[in-house]
Symmetry: D2
Subunit: 229 residues, 4 copies
C-alpha cells in the first residue's frame, strides 16, 4: 500500500489495488486471442483513441480500481450517487471512532456564491477577519456537536441515534471499487469546474492514481475533452 494523497484538512485518497491497464482495454476490444497484444504501441493507442471518440465504452470496464477514501460526509454523499461502483463505508450504527474529525475550509478555498440559480459562480472571500469568523463559527458548532455526541452516548442512548447530531462536515471513510469506464464518468463530472471545490480536490487525487495504472487512457481522456463515455 502506498502512503496515499492528502486532501483538504484531514482527508486522504489511496489506491489499494488495481486489475489491468491500457493493454487490457485494447485486448478486450479485440477479444479474439489470435490478436492478443502484449505491449502498447502506436496502433494500440490509436485504438483506445478510436474507442473514446466513438463512445465504445465497454472495453474500459475491464480495468478495475480499489480505493480507500477519507472525506467529509457531504462529499461522500455526492460520491455515492455514482451507482455503477461499489462502496463499503464505516458505519456509526456500530462504531465510535477514536477521534471525530471535521472539515473547515482553509483561507485559500473560502468562497462566496455569486449569480443566479442555474448560473452560479464562486469568488474568493479575501477578508481575513471574515474568514476567521467563518472558521471560528464552524469550529464552534463542531465542538458543540462532538461533545453532545459523547454526552448522548454517556446517557446510554444507542449509537445509531446519537450520531443524528453530527454535522455533514464530519469525516467518514470508505472503500470504493470502480471500473475505468465508471471512473472516467466520475472524473468528467467531479474534476470539473461545475463540481463543488471539495469533491473536486478528491477527484484530482483519484485522477492521479487512475493515470498511474492506465496512462494512455487518461491522456486521451484529457485530449478528447474529458467527456464521459
Amino acid at each position: 500500500m502506498t502512503l496515499g494523497i492528502k486532501v483538504l484538512d484531514h482527508g486522504k485518497v489511496d489506491l489499494i489495488d488495481a486489475m489491468g491497464g491500457d493493454l487490457d482495454i485494447v485486448n478486450a476490444a479485440r477479444v479474439s486471442f489470435s490478436s492478443y497484444q502484449s505491449e502498447m504501441d502506436e496502433r494500440a493507442e490509436g485504438l483506445i483513441n478510436f474507442l473514446m471518440k466513438n463512445k465504445h465504452a465497454t472495453p474500459f470496464e475491464h480495468v478495475t480500481y480499489k480505493f480507500y477514501v477519507k472525506c467529509p460526509i457531504f462529499v461522500a454523499r455526492e460520491w455515492f450517487r455514482h451507482r455503477w461502483s461499489s462502496f463499503n463505508e464505516m458505519s456509526m450504527r456500530y462504531y465510535v471512532p477514536d477521534e471525530l474529525e471535521f472539515y473547515i475550509p482553509e483561507y485559500d478555498s473560502m468562497r462566496k456564491q455569486v449569480g443566479k440559480p442555474g448560473n452560479y459562480s464562486f469568488e474568493p472571500i479575501t477578508d481575513q477577519t471574515t474568514v476567521s469568523f467563518i472558521q471560528g463559527l464552524m469550529s464552534d458548532v463542531y465542538s458543540v456537536a462532538e461533545s453532545a455526541y459523547y454526552d448522548l452516548l454517556d446517557a446510554g442512548v444507542a449509537k445509531e441515534i446519537a450520531r443524528s447530531v453530527l454535522p455533514v462536515g464530519q469525516y467518514t471513510e470508505f472503500v470504493w471499487t470502480v471500473n475505468l469506464r465508471s471512473l472516467l464518468n466520475f472524473l468528467s463530472l467531479r474534476n470539473d469546474s461545475h463540481a463543488q471545490l471539495e469533491i473536486r480536490e478528491f477527484a484530482k487525487a483519484i485522477e492521479e492514481f487512475a493515470e498511474s495504472i492506465a496512462p494512455v487512457a487518461l491522456k486521451l481522456f484529457r485530449d478528447n475533452g474529458r467527456e464521459a463515455l
Copy 2:
C-alpha cells in the same frame, strides 16, 4: 396525488405515480401476446408464486413506482445505497429551505443498544428524565447548528460550505423511482428487525403503497418469508 403517510416527527412518504401491477408481472413472464391475460385469477397468482419461489426476478422489474420521500439525512444515506433505482434529492448547494427540520426520537422509540459487535439488540429507555435529557440535548445541538448556518450565510459564505455544520438528523426530500424487484429487495432489508428503527418506519409506509399497486405480489412476498429476489 394522495395525502401521503406521515412518518416519524416530520417525515412523509407519498406515492406519486406507478406503472403496471400484478397482471404485468404475469404478462411479462409469459411474454407471448397469444397468452396475454387481462384479469388476475388463481392460475396467475400461482405463476407469481412460482416466480418468487424460484427467484425468477425479471418479470417483477416491469412494474415501476415513483415516490416522494421526506426523511432525515442519515435515513436517506442508507436508502441511497440501493443502486438499482433513481433518486433526485433537494440540494443545499443551491437551495436554502424555508424552514430547517430535525429528527428527535419520541418517547416510544428512544432506545439503548445492548450486546456485543455482530450481535447487538435494542431495549427501550423508559426513564422519562433520561428521555427528556436526550431530547433536550439533541434539540440544543440542532438550534446551535441552525443558527450558525444562517449566520454563515449572512457572513457571505457559499451555501455549499455553510451546510457543512448541519447535522445528519436534518430532514431532506427526494423523489425515488424504483421497480418492484428492487423495491422488494429494499423491503426485505429495510422493513426488517435488523434495520435501524427509523428507516424501518419509512419502509413500512413504502410497503403499504407497494401493496396498493400489486396486492398479490406483496401478499406472496410475505408468505414466502420476505426474501429478496
Copy 3:
C-alpha cells in the same frame, strides 16, 4: 394497447405502458413540492434544455416506458447489451412457437460493406439478380433449419437442444422496460448511422413512441446533437 409499428419483414414495436412525461422531468429536478409545476411552459422547457446540455441525467430516470418488441435474434443480442433496463424474452427452452419467422432483407436494404476495419461504410446492392440470389440462399438455409428443428423435436430431443440449429435471423419477442435516460442512450447509439441498419429501424420506431410521451425532451435531444446523457 395501440396497434404498434411494423418494422422490417415480420417485426413489430409497441408501447404497452408508460409512467410520466416531460413535466415529471421538471418536477424531479426541482424536487421540492413547493415548486411543483402542473403545466409545461417556456421556463420548464428551458430547464429540460439546461439539464440536457449539462448532462444532469437523473431527472430523466423518473419517466419509464414498457415496450413489446418482435425482432431478429441478432438485433435482440445488440439490444440486450443495454444493461440499465429490464427484459423478458420468449424462451425456446420451454416454448415451441406456432410459426417460426426469419429475417430476409428486402431489395431496398440489401447492401455491401466497403472500406477497411475501423472505417467501414455501406453501399446498396442494386443488381436484382444478386439480390434475388442472396434472398434465395437465406431462405433456403432457414427452410433447412426449420425443418430440421421439427425433425429433432420429433426424434424426442429436448427443445433446449433442438433450438441450437435455428439461425440468429429468427424472430424473437420480448418485453422491455426502460427509463428515459437509458432510452436516450439507446437512441443515441442505435438510431445512428454507425448502427446496423436493422436495429436502427427498430430504434426509429422506439423514438416515435418515446416522443409521444415526452415530446419536449425528445425535441431537445435532437436539438442538442442526440447525445447520450
Copy 4:
C-alpha cells in the same frame, strides 16, 4: 495466462486476471484501516460467514475477476442477462472467423424433456441410433449454414447480413469482468439443476477458478446452500 478449462466439444473458460481475494472481503467489511488484517484466520472466516448468512453483500463486490469464455451463442445469450458485469464479445459485423465451430451434444449429454410446463425434468436418450440421428441432423444444418454463409460473403453482401443464417449453436468468444457478488449470483442460478446443462458446464469451470482466488468465500457459499447474496 493459464491453459484454461475445456468445456463441451469446442468451448473454453480461462481466468485472465483477478483483483483481491478472501482477505479483501474482510477488510472491506471492516473498512477502518486500524483493523486492517493481513492474514486469514478463524475470526476472518467467521466474519465472511456472518456476511453471507445475513446477506451483507457489498464487501464481496471488492473482489473482481476477468475471464475469457468461448461458448455457443445460446449459452452466451443466457450469460449476458447478468447485467451487473461487463462483456466484450467478438462481433461478426466486422470479423469473419478463420473457422466456424458449432455445438453438437455428445452421447452423455443427449437428453429428452419430460413433464409439463413449469415442471420439466430431463432424461438421457440412450438409444445409440437416435443419438447418431440427432447428431447427424445437427451437423447437416451446420454444414448447410456454414457453406451458405461463405457463399453470401462471396456474393458481396455485408458480413452483418450474412451472419443472419448462422445458428445459435455457433461458438462465440467474449471477455467477462465480474465482481464476486455478481459471480456468486451467477453460480447460484447457473451451476444449478434448473439451469440448462450446457451453461451449467461452463458455470462449473467458472466456479473452479472463482475458488482458486477466494477459497474461503466459495467454501462458505456451498456450506450456506449456494444462495445468491
